[in-house]
């Protein structure tokens, strides 16, 4: 039985590209700042030495990386567990059994809100950080998934294992 992977919203790719653009322009601003404000530019390399790799990196992340990442990102839920795969070059497939979920969260960042996206985060015990975060969901979908997960968790039967 193969896992029925569900893709995320196509606007997730746009979201990734915007993130790349923001990060890269911060880098560019820092570099420009150095060139403008450092008095002697003799020690610094020709701006082209930085500019060309910067452009290549921007194109790489903006076109190749973000589309690969979008393609690979998917989630699936079975009766027992929630699955998520993410990553572009380094890939991770994660499974969280439903009866280990501690709490569920729907979050929306600023850019996500502009695109009408949200991400759903499941937390488990012991790991400290966010555990399974499904990005690029429609807000309504995320809310609905959250509601159904919370229901499942609440109805979870617990046997007392003392006889075990």
């Amino acid at each position: 039985m193969a896992i029925a992977w569900k893709p995320v919203e196509p606007s997730y790719k746009t979201y990734l590209q915007i993130i790349v653009l923001i990060d890269m322009s911060i880098l560019a601003l820092i570099a420009i700042g150095i060139y403008v404000f450092v008095p002697s530019t003799e020690l610094l390399p020709n701006p082209l030495w930085l500019g060309v790799p910067w452009a290549v990196l921007t194109l790489f992340f903006g076109l190749f990386w973000s589309s690969r990442r979008f393609q690979f990102t998917a989630y699936a839920d079975s009766n027992e567990a929630m699955y998520l795969r993410r990553g572009a070059l380094w890939r991770l497939t994660r499974a969280v059994p439903l009866n280990r979920i501690q709490h569920v969260e729907v979050r929306q960042g600023f850019i996500e809100r502009m695109l009408g996206l949200a991400h759903l985060t499941l937390y488990t015990a012991g790991s400290g950080g966010a555990d399974l975060s499904i990005p690029g969901l429609k807000l309504s979908d995320a809310e609905q998934m959250k509601a159904s997960l919370v229901n499942t968790i609440a109805e979870e039967p617990i046997e007392d294992a003392s006889h075990d």
Partner: protein, 494 residues
């Protein structure tokens, strides 16, 4: 609900609050860097004393205030706490939510028959509450009430010395470790380097060594310089003394180690000055670590550590000293303990190794060592043959180590337990009840993808564990199988 009776801890406990303040100071020592810098820069005579004196006054005053505003009340179903001098904090801990309750008999309370009650709740912040200065019997009672599982569990396993006769339900299993065993533990788990670091750091910070010790040595023991062997002998003797001191540290910690099992609650109690108790309930067990380092192999002893749920990374750091450890076990005891813990550990386990592909990546980096060494020796005018042999030997040793590591690595799944063993000189086995795992990851770096392999991470409540280099399809199958096994297992896991 009955009216709460707020109580203050006895005035004797002021020592506890002072100790707490001092601990806070040590923990936040970095905050004082600006002050230290100011002292250093100002170069004044009185400023350091003023700062130190001021701080001492502050510690004492805040300890008194904290003591004065530390109120607790014991109700039938909960402990209530009210603390804080300026920022007030009110805390209610329900007994049923309490994960852990331990009694610490600090050395400064023991003469007065007082104890510190340390309580852990299940909250995600890993809140730990300490109530100092409770009378021994009251604390004993309270702890029993907190941990009460069955009505008959009124037994006080702690009182084994005083009123062994009166205990109604004696522990099912009891063990007391003899002095010689604890000394063995000290040899196995020797903190000599920690001790060395603790001693050297203050010495290096003062000029004592250069100004006093070295001239004194030169003046009085000039014969030292004449013999190399004498110097070596002295160094060895110094290390030996440190080694024995380090054994002493273990002895203080584990003196009269007493282990008992009662109603699935495992408890270890030990200490020469401060008597600490750590315990866990079988239900909450998340990991068993069985270790044997090189010295342990020579002494034929093992050590075991049992972990429970650690609510946060912060708690994980703190609880290093509070986790359940039996530092020295014979082979026979290990077998018996595995039986009690229901570990399916036996000689005929089907340990699975990992693919030899796992050696590829480390071997590549190790292979770079030989040419590097050769280049370095060549540049330093070492005869070519010598350089060549050194490089070859070094490469062989490290490569051999890598292969041994790979060969000794194994994992197995047996009766719902996942076990992983590793170690070249020492041995280490980690056992996890698989149905308590929290997440299962399959991870592929570009390199692993190229080879068609993946790493499987099992995140448990006691920390992550990795099984490296599994073929992708079997890794994914493992993930799916385990996830659905865990998801359909409704046993209590914490």
């Amino acid at each position: 609900m009955t009216e709460l009776v707020w109580q203050r801890t006895p005035i004797l406990t002021i020592g506890f609050f002072i100790a707490k303040e001092v601990r806070n100071l040590v923990r936040n020592i970095t905050n004082f860097i600006p002050v230290l810098a100011a002292i250093f820069v100002s170069n004044s005579d009185w400023l350091p004393y003023a700062v130190i004196g001021g701080y001492l006054v502050f510690i004492v005053v805040s300890a008194f205030l904290n003591h004065h505003f530390f109120l607790y009340a014991l109700a039938d179903d909960a402990v209530h706490l009210r603390t804080g001098v300026f920022g007030k904090k009110s805390l209610t801990l329900k007994y049923e939510r309490i994960q852990q309750a331990e009694l610490d008999q600090s050395w400064y309370f023991r003469p007065f028959d007082l104890v510190i009650l340390r309580v852990d709740s299940a909250g995600s912040a890993g809140k730990e509450v300490e109530i100092p200065g409770l009378p021994f019997n009251l604390a004993q009672d309270l702890r029993q009430r907190m941990l009460a599982q069955t009505a008959s569990a009124k037994a006080t396993t702690e009182n084994t010395v005083a009123d062994r006769e009166q205990t109604e339900a004696p522990a099912e299993t009891e063990l007391t470790f003899s002095m010689s065993e604890i000394v063995r533990a000290g040899i196995m788990d020797n903190k000599i380097f920690v001790l060395l670091a603790v001693l050297i750091y203050p010495l290096s910070q003062t000029d004592m060594l250069e100004e006093r010790l070295v001239p004194w040595l030169e003046a009085n023991v000039s014969f030292l310089e004449e013999s190399l062997w004498l110097n070596i002998g002295l160094a060895v003797a110094a290390l030996a003394v440190l080694f024995i001191l380090a054994v002493g540290v273990t002895l203080i910690r584990y003196y009269n180690l007493h282990f008992s099992i009662l109603n699935e609650r495992y408890q270890a109690r030990s200490g020469l000055f401060t008597i600490r108790t750590v315990s866990f309930r079988y239900q909450k067990l998340q990991r068993v670590q069985l270790r044997q380092n090189f010295r342990g192999r020579l002494l034929k002893r093992f050590s075991i550590r049992v972990s429970q749920l650690q609510p946060s990374a912060h708690a994980q750091q703190q609880s290093g000293s509070a986790s359940f450890v039996l530092p020295v076990l014979t082979q026979h005891l290990v077998t018996e303990l595995c039986g009690w813990l229901k570990l399916p550990r036996s000689g005929d386990l089907d340990w699975q190794g990992i693919s030899f592909i796992a050696l590829l990546n480390p071997s590549f980096w190790i292979a770079l060592i030989a040419p590097t060494v050769l280049l370095v020796t060549y540049a330093n005018d070492v005869p070519l043959m010598n350089g060549f042999f050194t490089a070859a030997l070094l490469w062989l040793a490290i490569q051999g180590y890598a292969i041994a590591r790979w060969r000794n690595y194994g994992f197995t799944i047996s009766n719902g337990w996942l076990a992983i063993k590793r170690g070249v000189f020492g041995r280490k086995e980690n056992w996890y009840p698989l149905h308590k795992a929290q997440q299962i990851d399959v991870y592929q770096s570009p390199w692993l993808r190229l080879l068609g392999y993946a790493d499987v991470f099992v995140h448990t409540a006691a920390g992550p564990e990795v099984i490296k280099y599994q073929p992708v399809s079997s890794a994914l199958a493992m993930q799916r199988e385990w996830a659905s096994m865990i998801g359909s297992n409704h046993q209590r896991w914490m």
